[in-house]
Every structure is written in C-alpha cells, then in structure tokens.
C-alpha cells in the first residue's frame, strides 16, 4: 500500500495519476508533432481524457461540456479549418525552439508554487464551499425548486451571465460568417469554378 492511501482512496489516486500521466504524454506528443491532422485528433483525445478526469473530480457538468464541446464539435471545426490551410506545420528555427519551453517551465513553476496555498480537494472550509456556494445549496430548494442546482445557478441566479455567454457564442458565429462567408455561397462558387474549368 502506498503511504496514506487505502481502499477507494487509493483507487482514485491511481486513476488520477493515470489520467494526468496520459494528459502529459498527449501534451508532449502534440508539441512534438508536425502533421496537423494528427494534432487535431490528439487534441480531441486530450479533451476526452480531461473530461474523464473531471468526472473523477465529481464535476460532471463540466465533464459533459468538455466532452461535447472539446472532444466533439471543436475537433470537427478544427478539421474543417485544417482543410483550408497546409497539412503540416513549419518547423521552428534553432534558437526559437528554446523560448516556448522556457515560457512553459516558468509558468509551470509559478502554478506549482501557487498550488501550495490552495485548500485541499473537497475541503469543506475552502472558499468555494463556503459563502455563496452554501447559500445556493440552501436557497435553491426553497426559491427555485429545481433538483439540479447547477441548472438553478446557471439559468436563474446567474441568468445574466448565461445571457452574456449566449451572446458570446452568437457573436463568434457572426465573426466567423463575416470572415469566411455563409458557406453555401462559397460552396456553389467552387462548384461553378469546377464546371467552368471543364
């Protein structure tokens, strides 16, 4: 037995180590690859593994969104974007290779330093579990009467935020349409060009 862990705790700890190790391997593989198709596929796998890890952390709503958006739709969108550009990324020149790794190491060191001050996972006295969090848990059955408190917070208590998020998604679609066109017109234009060549 590993010191301090036993039974279910040990299993969860091992699952966490396995999933984070997989994330690390996929991250290194993405950084070292040049084929854009493989990178797109690996980023989908990265999202799927993170979603699994979120489930292990009991954040099912976040995991659901990560699986649907990160692994599902953004992989398809990145594939579509990839087809509009070159198939492989250009290799970086000598000295430029060292800069990203320095940035990553510095950021990583800062994040590790920051985790020392974080409360333990699931700590009932942590800021996330006191104040407004407990308030929502207490008030939702009385005020909203919706069993899923995440829905109550998202749609009712924080309805204004969700309206803003919906606006962001809508604006993103508008921006892509403004940049690339509606799709159907460019599609028929390419068909017509093909016919003209024939």
């Amino acid at each position: 037995m590993i010191a301090g862990y036993s039974g279910a705790d040990l299993a969860i700890a091992l699952i966490n180590v396995l999933l984070l190790g997989l994330l690390f391997v996929v991250g290194v593989a993405i950084a070292r690859m040049r084929s854009l198709f493989a990178i797109v596929m690996l980023s989908g796998i990265y999202s799927l593994i993170s979603a699994t890890w979120f489930v292990a952390l009991d954040a099912v709503d976040v995991a659901f969104t990560e699986a649907a958006v990160g692994a599902g739709i953004s992989t398809a969108l990145l594939l579509g974007a990839m087809l509009l550009t070159a198939r492989t990324a250009k290799p970086e020149k000598g000295a430029m290779q060292i800069v990203p790794i320095l940035v990553v190491l510095a950021t990583g060191a800062m994040l590790v330093y920051a985790t020392i001050d974080l409360p333990a996972f699931g700590d009932p006295d942590s800021p996330a579990n006191t104040y407004v969090g407990t308030d929502y848990l207490e008030r939702t059955p009385r005020e909203i009467a919706v069993p899923n408190i995440v829905t109550a917070v998202l749609a009712s208590y924080r309805g204004f935020d969700t309206l803003g998020e919906t606006g962001v998604v809508f604006t993103a679609a508008l921006a892509v349409i403004l940049l690339l066109g509606f799709g159907e017109r460019s599609l028929s234009a390419t068909f017509n060009r093909k016919k003209d060549k024939k």
Partner: protein, 153 residues
C-alpha cells in the same frame, strides 16, 4: 461524397446512419432532463449539431445543407438569442427586474411556476442559439472545401 467512387465508405455510412437519430434523441434527453441531471441547453445544442456534422462528414456537405439549410441555422441562432432576451423583457413588462422569473405569472409568493417555466424558456433559447451558431460556424468552414478527399485524412 456518396457515389460509386467512394464505395469503400459503405461501412462508415451504414454505421453512421442509425447513430444520427440516436444522437439527436440523446440531445433532446439532455435538454429536457437538464433540471434533474447534468446537461442543459448548451450541451444539448452542441450534441444536436454533432448529429448534423456527422451527417455532413459521411454523406457530404451538400446533402447536409439541403437537410438543414444554412439560412435556417443562422436564423435559429438569432431566434434563440431573442427568446433568451425576450424572457428578460417579459419579466420587465410584468413589473420585475430583467430576467427575474418570479414575476412572470404574477403568482403568490412561494410559487415556483415562474422559475420553472422561465428556466425552460431560457434553456430553449440557449439550445437554439448554440445549435444555430455552431452549425453556422461549421458550414462556414466546411462550405469552402468542396469535398474532403481521401488523401486529406
């Protein structure tokens, strides 16, 4: 993409065809069960778009655009945002604050009908807006390449 040229995709087509309605059905489940379990309008909107994207990837972008026209997708996005903001305005008209669902039906204090139907209406708005927007983005990218060739994969 369908045609004698791409006959080696026949397994892909046969497997994908029954999956598409199941994915759409699952999206509806995620949406309407959002009050009780994880999920809601946002996830449901993305999942329903995945069904259309799968159809477009397997059967080609032109049949997908015939099934779900791009003009419908972008109108849906705008309509969803209007529904969401409209619920807020409805609350304003009923004399409450913007997006304050308690006043929607002028009920006694302690009633939860306003909250319940307000959340459902808002989630429908999110579903429409997200599904329409995501599909418009996909069409904008995919509409620029006539066909995904085998060597591109």
């Amino acid at each position: 993409m369908a045609g004698p040229r791409s006959d080696h995709h026949v397994i892909l087509r046969v497997v994908a065809k029954p999956l598409i309605p199941i994915i759409a059905l699952f999206a509806l489940y995620v949406h309407f069960h959002g009050d009780y379990s994880p999920g809601g309008g946002f996830q449901a909107g993305v999942i329903i778009v995945v069904a259309v994207v799968l159809y477009a990837l397997v059967f080609g972008i032109t049949p997908a655009m015939r099934a779900v026209p791009p003009v419908f997708a972008r109108s849906l996005a705008a309509l969803g945002f209007i529904i969401f903001a409209g619920v807020g305005v409805w609350a304003l008209i009923m004399g409450g604050n913007f997006l304050d669902y308690d006043v929607l039906f002028n009920e006694e204090p302690g009633g939860h009908m306003g909250q319940h139907y307000g959340i459902i209406a808002v989630e429908v708005g999110v579903l429409f807006a997200v599904a329409g927007s995501m599909l418009s983005i996909f069409y904008a990218f995919a509409g620029r390449v006539t066909e995904i060739k085998d060597e591109d994969w």
